[in-house]
């Protein structure tokens, strides 16, 4: 029997560093798409070690794990340490749906003082700090792809998209970066 094989993500080796903007492929992570009614939030939060946010656009993070509000009953949970999120939720008996989407998504880390302008080349939302503060997250569009934006720092966003869209998303980010 073969040994366990390594993950070969999309965007392998892709990188861009231009004046005021850097694009880096995010490290492979474990991801969970969590759907749950309000009644299950307490046990799920306990199981995951995170208080699942209930306000629109809100996220919570602790250590290398974060939960992003996507909708009133939908969260994306990301664990950058490879923690087994499915296992964590398995003990919760209250009705919910936990689905492993670790490989469904790919992420690009976009950072630098020009980050808002670069993202606004394809994202129609207002990304100014007043409206989209650090920690805010939202599913939205970037050009012709659907993405999830998560502002991790004042000048840094994590852009999550489906695996096969990542090439398009990265190329559009590159094109936007060239618009100085």
């Amino acid at each position: 029997m073969a040994d366990a094989i390594a993950r070969t993500g999309a965007l392998e080796g892709r990188f861009l560093n231009d004046e005021g903007i850097t694009l880096v492929r995010a490290e492979p992570a474990t991801r969970l798409l969590l759907r749950a009614p309000e009644t299950a939030l307490k046990p799920l939060s306990k199981a995951l070690g995170l208080d699942l946010p209930q306000r629109p656009k809100a996220s919570v993070s602790g250590g290398k794990r974060a939960a992003l509000w996507l909708g009133p009953d939908e969260w994306l949970v990301i664990d950058e340490n490879g923690g087994d999120l499915m296992e964590d939720c398995a003990s919760v008996s209250a009705f919910h749906s936990a689905v492993d989407v670790s490989h469904r998504n790919t992420a690009v880390l976009v950072s630098g003082p020009r980050v808002e302008a670069v993202l606004n080349a394809g994202c129609p939302q207002d990304l100014s700090l007043d409206v989209f503060p650090v920690g805010a997250c939202s599913r939205t569009v970037f050009g012709k792809a659907e993405v999830i934006l998560w502002r991790t720092e004042r000048d840094a966003f994590r852009v999550e998209c489906w695996r096969s869209f990542s090439d398009y998303v990265f190329m559009l980010l590159e094109a936007a970066s060239r618009d100085r």
Binding site: M1, F95, S97, V99, D100, R104, A121, S128, F165, A175
Partner: protein, 994 residues
Amino acid sequence: MAQPFRIATAGRLGKADPVRFTFDGKSFEGLHGDTLASALLANGVHLVGRSFKYHRPRGMVSAGAEEPNALVGVHRDAARRAPNVRATVQEIHEGLNAVSQNRWPSLSFDVGALNDLASPFFSAGFYYKTFMWPKAAWERVYEPFIRRAAGLGEAPDRPDPDCYANRFAHCDVLVIGGGAAGLSAALAAANAGARVILADEQAETGGALRYETGAMIDGMPGWNWAQAVTADLAARDNVRLLTRTTGFGYYAQNMVGLVERLTDHLVSPATDQPRERLWQVRAKRVVLATGAIERHMVFPDNDRPGIMLASAARTYLNHFGVTVGRNVAIYTAGDSAWQAALDLKRSGVSIAAIVDCRPDPQGPHVEEARRLGIECLTGHAVTGTGGRLRVSSIKVRPVSGGAERTIACDALLTSSGWTPAVHLFSQSRGKLAFDAETQRFLPGNAVQELVSVGACAGNIDLGETVAEALKAGHEAAGGVARKLPKLAADSTERWSGGMLGAGEGAGAESTAKAFVDFQNDVTAKDIRQAVREGMRSIEHVKRFTTTGMATDQGKTSNMHGLAIAAEMLDRPIPEVGLTTFRAPYTPVTFGALVGHGKGRLFEPVRRTPMHDWAEAHGAVFEDVGQWKRAWYFPQAGEDMHAAVARECRTVRQSAGIFDATTLGKIEVVGPDAARFMELMYTNPWQKLGVGRCRYGVMLREDGFIYDDGVVGRLAEDRFHVTTTTGGAPRVLNHMEDYLQTEFPDLKVYLTSTSEQWAVIAVQGPKSRDIIAPLVEGIDLSDDAMPHMSVREGMICGVPTRLFRMSFTGERGFEINVPADYGRAVWEAVWAEGEKHGACAYGTETMHVLRAEKGFIIVGQETDGTVTPHDAGLSWAIGKKKTDFVGMRGLARPDLVAPGRKQLVGLRTRDPKTVLEEGAQIVADPDAPVPVPMLGHVTSSYWSENCGHSIALALVAGGHERMGETLYVPMPEGAITVEVTSTVFFDEKGARTNG
């Protein structure tokens, strides 16, 4: 002397660097900061183009975006050839190469000018009359003629090599226009702390202050103040200052489209630098400070080169330091043109005469003109002009009648007053109100969060303009009333007067060409003719005469046209109506609208994790939606036919390996998952055992097939649903719709897992042998894992959902592994497969193999009008179910009526003939036309495994026609076919366990 019409003491370009450019191949010198128009005028060139219809010589009319005449081609290189560029807007740069348009063989001698002599044939509405008959002439004579004659510039014939950018932006206050009003508004809004965007179409802000020399603001000459405020604003974090940026469209909820020109003024822009950037701005409040546009006078032969707007001459003189002539005449109905005469006179230019049709104009400018010794002919009119390629004289006579006199001149400046630029206000759906006293349409009540200030709101006083703009900016920013800023502003220029419509000599009886719309060659006579021929609304007059329909959209002409029509109809102007202002305000390139979305970014190209492997192994790809799918894998010397035949053979003899990753996947989770599945699919699901699979059929409420796919039950409360590749997003949307809005009480959630899993199909008698060495923890024996079952375990050390299923009719597996492992697992499977002589196969072989088995493909055998009964899938409908989406629709009378088109197989009498997909099917090819059509071929292939061609078809009453002979008429003759079962291979289905 270079630039003979440059006046060293005038203008602001001063000691700017000289710039060399060419026009029609001739080299000229201008100054850095010139527009093409100002640089040509500095060289004494007025003639820059020929008119659209009559090919009359034309020169610059204006100094701005409203220019109707001076359209040129600008050729940067073979691919970059921009047509219809306004010379008054294009800045010159070293090496700029501009050419005139609409002339042959040359600008000064143009054969097309014969149209001018033939003008009686080209009067208003000639398009609608001349080309009516005979019918045959349309194709051979009229259309080629119109095509050759139509349009002005020449479109580039190569792909546009430039890139374009897009930017979504949000702000508190968007100010359109950077003149005195716009700058004041932006300043006040910025001071109040708002996020401000200020857009101005010129290279520099300042607006009318470019030429208005009498303005003082905040103790400074107006222009100097404008530049100081601009520098101040540009340095602020809360202000984005955009020059060379046109607000071209005002859309719903304060969405305004701006286009910023980034490189057209540069000598050699970087290749990756966008040429233009589209701004889609969402503003909380908009301040429109778009100014006003001067109108020309309408009189006979008012279109010769050298006849231009008075404000344009002032701009060329006061900003660019260029005089438009040496002996300049003025013809006006208002005060503002007098100032042009005074400015020119003071710069040493001779003024031939000032002709004012008003009997007794008053004011300091009149006194000053008389003091300077200028001949002032008040109560007079210009009734004609002379000169061929340039105006050389004017005919003048008293308005009250009397002798005509000719006055020599080399330029004529005209003004009939000012039209507020209400275009964007009108686009915002605000209603315009006609001010009878000043004969202007002004912004009425706004329906969006906007305010108009300054000249576009009808304000002609600089002090009031600045005050109202400061207030507007301050209030738009939410500033408190007591902090309202103030600025001292005053101007020595206060203008009144003006007229609409045709002047003397161009009245109702005149046959002269007195142009209303220069760009489309529409005269006062044309407008009158339109009314005489029954046009009553201005919308009809516009379409009949084409007035205002050129690329300038009638910025200088619409009010004249309206006034002439109103006079003819003897009705007040507002009753005749104003044509609708539509975006864009000035032409916008397709590039700007497309933005980043071209070439590789036209749309996402989706590739599976195994794509590169397939590419390396010679796959030919086909597009399936946005996906690239391996179509077939030709080996050396193989064409598509040979490759597909080999792949088909190999799968049934040994095994084939196929990338099925693109199939849609949805995880349905929750205690009510089976109940939900019962509602969404025709099939029963409650009793499907854990670890078992079922082929599911999904209908729309109307009873027609919407999608299909194999569904595996992983747990009591968890289903792994697959959809068609193209159907994945809409199926999830369809399921979410029902779950959220019709069945919200069901305890179930849906999650797309399409891209979580890479899917490797291994099909063929050797499939189990191939995967067995790689699989861990799953008993692959037929007893433990029969056909249509699913197991979770490990393969190659990574987790898998392993399906035993088949779309080929062979023993088969579909290996689902997390996508990032897909490539490695594929390679391991491939290595095992090679030991058994397996092949990689593509979508074409997949299609053939499933057709041999009579399996449908949604979207190929179905077209939104096919029921499960039609498709031979009645067995997939749960007979005991009381509800599912589409159940009631299926019972509709027409869906159960006899004679519906049903899916059958077809075999050609000649086994080698392969039918064409989409071909029609008839019972009697010799029947009289129209031959009754029975249906059409949905799928057709050469089947290597059967040794004959196979086809699937939808045929009326097909299920009752087994064995019948039908015909497929083709251009070469009808093909004889026999109606058969849809299953061509292994009819008993033994091979799924073979």
